[in-house]
């Protein structure tokens, strides 16, 4: 479930990035790459787990499914927080810089 939720987040972020490309003022490309990186890593994890569990891998317990979904949404939220920090730190629109410059004047 965590993998699925992260893949959907990566697809949505990529669509939003593509819609606004080549303009990437909002650094959506960074967010999409972060989610894709995590998705690829979880895919590897899932493949290794499948090799170990075989068909059991596709029959998870309901409690595990709920826990994994909760984790997936938390992962998406953390990705958004990291992206927000990157966005404000890089400040591509110069909003924060101009605000501080105005205060200095």
């Amino acid at each position: 479930m965590t993998l699925l939720i992260t893949v959907f987040a990566a697809i949505v972020a990529t669509i939003v990035w593509y819609k606004h490309a080549p303009n990437d003022d909002w650094k959506i490309g960074t967010l999409a790459l972060m989610y894709w990186g995590a998705s690829l890593m979880w895919m590897v994890d899932a493949i290794f787990e499948y090799a170990e569990l075989k068909e059991e891998f596709f029959q998870p317990e309901v409690a595990d499914l709920i826990n994994d979904s909760f984790l997936g949404f938390t992962v998406v939220a953390l990705g958004l927080v990291i992206w927000l920090v990157v966005l404000l730190a890089k400040d591509p629109k110069g909003v924060l810089r101009s605000k501080f410059a105005t205060k200095k004047n």
Binding site: A38, V44, V75
Partner: protein, 145 residues
């Protein structure tokens, strides 16, 4: 257990490499014998390396959260619960060598494909631009005739 540490280690290396490359690319200026100099257009490989950094750092950070979630990473020494027991430590190292290395390889392969595709697109765009310029240059000649 600690598979995310392998992509994290790769991310540290590629981040340093991207920083060094970006500095070198900025200083790419050719001085000719006659005294003139020419600034070569900045190769954007460091920017492309940034894609890999984003994937590795982002993926590692999100996977680290999963390990905290499952109690495999703790905020006290030695930070990895598997590191306290010898048998668990061996299992952890085995997982890093198999799952962790495969993760790093897959992300790097995906990035390499992205670089190849973008380089191909850049080359074909440059070719089209050349053809356009050549066609535009030909027009006034034919008009004169």
């Amino acid at each position: 257990m600690a598979c995310f540490l392998v992509p994290t280690a790769e991310a540290i290396v590629t981040t340093i490499a991207a920083k060094v490359m970006a500095k070198k690319e900025k200083n790419m200026e050719i001085h000719h014998e006659g005294g003139s100099s020419e600034i070569i257009e900045k190769s954007r490989f460091s920017r492309k390396l940034g894609w890999l950094n984003n994937m590795l750092w982002g993926g590692s950070a999100l996977l680290a959260l999963e390990h905290v979630w499952h109690g495999e990473v703790v905020p006290w020494f030695p930070f990895l619960t598997a590191a306290t027991d010898a048998a668990d430590r061996a299992e952890m190292l085995h997982e890093m060598a198999t799952v962790g290395v495969t993760m790093a390889l897959l992300v790097t392969t995906a990035w390499a494909i992205m670089v190849l595709v973008s380089t191909h697109l850049e080359k074909s765009a440059a070719k089209e631009a050349k053809i356009d310029t050549a066609e535009k240059a030909v027009v006034p000649v034919s008009e004169k005739e």
